[in-house]
């Protein structure tokens, strides 16, 4: 099993930390993982993206241009990465702020209204965990116990009290993901 994922959105949406939690959780489940961020001025308010690979084998290239799954959180990233999803792959996006929806017919497309949902429950901070939950619903690569370990490892101890709400957000994401277009 190898899952190659791109997560892309605005800096500040928790794109990099979502990838980090996913990678950490994979590592705790004894998988091979890599986390390759875009770095530099982009991180300061512009677009940010991270490539995460989770695999049972030694990972070859941490840098890719074709992905099994693209998780897209803003329009710029949609424009940039819609065509980077492998044929038959998955695109998950939050429609909030999206003006041009994905049009490909050779991939499976899902939406997760994480921005609306996190606003509704008043926890903007767990936005990215709702998105992560949506991904895990489709690709249950990581067992919940290892997700918890991943959260423990990647969050600083002073934030460990937020782990339960992060876990609830993941569960919420699993519930609210919707199919927008499915291949035959």
């Amino acid at each position: 099993m190898t899952e190659e994922i791109i997560i892309a959105g605005f800096g500040g949406q928790g794109v990099l930390s979502m990838g980090k939690i996913l990678a950490y959780s994979g590592m705790m489940q004894n998988k091979e993982v890599s986390w390759m961020p875009s770095y530099g001025p982009e991180m300061r308010g512009g677009t940010a993206n991270v490539t995460v690979i989770i695999s049972d084998e030694r990972i070859s290239s941490p840098i890719l241009n074709q992905f099994d799954t693209a998780i897209i959180l803003n329009q710029q990233s949609m424009d940039k990465f819609e065509n980077s999803v492998k044929k038959g792959g998955v695109l998950i996006y939050d429609p909030n702020g999206i003006t041009r929806h994905p049009e490909r017919k050779d991939i499976n497309i899902y939406t997760v209204e994480a921005a609306d949902e996190s606003a509704k429950i008043g926890l903007a901070k767990v936005f990215n965990m709702i998105v992560l939950g949506a991904f895990l619903k489709l690709k249950p690569l990581i067992e919940p116990e290892y997700m918890r370990k991943g959260l423990e490892k990647s969050l600083p101890p002073r934030h460990h009290n937020t782990i339960p709400e992060n876990e609830r957000a993941i569960e919420t994401g699993k519930k609210i993901i919707k199919a927008r277009y499915l291949m035959n």
Binding site: K20, A23, Y24, M27, E32, V33, S34, W35, M36, P37, Y39, G40, I59, S60, S61, P62, I63, L64, N65, Q66, K153, S154
Partner: protein, 367 residues
């Protein structure tokens, strides 16, 4: 239980240095390697192992602090990225001339000039062919993973003291910034001052009655003596060429085509090998781990086996010159590189290999 962590490459080499018994780090922030100094500072190394960490006023000062510490027999290091490494060439040359061991890290970014902060491999010539003045070589290690960033701290120090030479870890922004799983080993204690006096009889640690004074200098105004010093240096480099070559081969046993690439590019090529094999192309990868000494013999051995060699670099073609020296004209060698901080994609490099050697058939074997 093994200590396994998810770390950035820059953090891994910092942790590796602490655990390798490093005595001192002197450095100056520059993207994309500032995490090295940040990690060391956050880890309170003085309390943990006694390791000294100092943010210097410049890369020039950093390298000369390293020069001072190395002259006194300590395990010392610095790290920087391309423009900063250019500034350090003066001190590196002085350390070459005085045969002082040290560990240097270059997390390469695109150039020339201020260039870009994105990953690049355009400093190969500077590292491998001698970036400073004078006839000298450093051992150059090219990590291709975060684990190797960690491992090469200890390996680098050990090689540096074994041969009294500067060891440069030639990394790049991708390896420095990405996170992977790292298996950590136990902390190795720092040498005591007494051990240093006993082991490194050349070190300037204070003249005691029972020995001659130790002078650390690269100056000798007598050209006859200076030539002798240089010949001794060259003999050392030849010995290193014979004994310290390191490389990795991936699916080369039956390979008909070969990628040669190091560092990040090698990781990209590793994927390209998988993609190629899936298409039925018998392609392999030779990954030089030491760039000096370069694995010329292995290149030549594989050159006799394959129909074409595709070099992949994040540069306009620097390592390819060493590959061609190794190939000795036996088989066609082509370069493909992305510049200015762009990392090539796996399908992109496979496509290039196919175009150059399979579709175009410009390199039919004639012997």
């Amino acid at each position: 239980m093994k200590d396994v962590r998810l770390m950035k490459g820059n953090e891994a080499i910092a942790e590796g240095a602490i655990r390798a018994g490093c005595d001192g780090y002197f450095g100056y922030p520059i993207t994309p390697q500032s995490e090295v100094l940040e990690y060391l500072m956050a880890n309170k190394t003085k309390e943990r192992t006694g390791m000294i960490v100092l943010q210097a006023e410049s890369e020039v000062a950093s390298i000369h602090m390293v020069y001072g510490g190395a002259a006194a027999g300590k395990r010392v290091m610095t790290s920087s990225s391309s423009p900063g490494i250019s500034l350090m060439q003066e001190g590196i040359s002085f350390m070459a001339g005085t045969e002082l061991p040290c560990l240097l890290l270059n997390v390469v970014r695109g150039g020339p000039g201020l260039g870009t902060i994105q990953p690049s491999q355009a400093d190969y010539f500077q590292a491998v062919k001698g970036g400073g003045h004078g006839d000298y070589k450093m051992i150059v290690l090219a990590p291709a993973s975060v684990q190797e960033m960690y491992d090469f701290a200890k390996l680098g120090f050990d090689l540096a003291f074994k041969h009294r030479i500067q060891v440069m870890v030639l990394s790049d922004g991708a390896i420095g910034q990405m996170m992977e799983k790292v298996e950590l080993d136990d902390e190795r204690p720092r040498w005591t001052d007494e051990e240093i006096v006993k082991m490194h009889t050349w070190a300037a640690t204070g003249k005691t009655k029972n020995r001659e004074r130790n002078i650390i200098t690269s100056l000798d105004l007598n050209p006859v003596k200076q030539e002798i010093i240089n010949r001794k240096l060259q003999a050392k480099f030849r010995k290193i060429e014979e004994t310290e070559v390191r490389f990795e081969t991936i699916q080369c046993e039956d390979a008909e085509y070969l990628f040669v690439a190091y560092g990040s590019s090698a990781r990209v090529c590793q994927k390209a090998v998988q993609l190629g094999r899936a298409k039925g192309i018998k392609v392999g990868l030779l990954r030089p781990i030491t760039l000096f000494p370069f694995p010329y013999k292995e290149v030549k051995r594989l050159a006799k086996q394959v129909k074409g060699i595709q070099c992949i670099e994040m540069s306009a073609g620097q390592m390819i010159e060493d590959v061609r020296l190794g190939v000795e004209g036996i088989v066609g060698v082509e370069h493909y590189g992305r510049l200015g901080g762009i990392i090539p994609a796996p399908d992109e490099v496979l496509n290039v290999l196919e175009q150059n050697f399979i579709k175009a058939k410009i390199y039919e074997r004639t012997h």
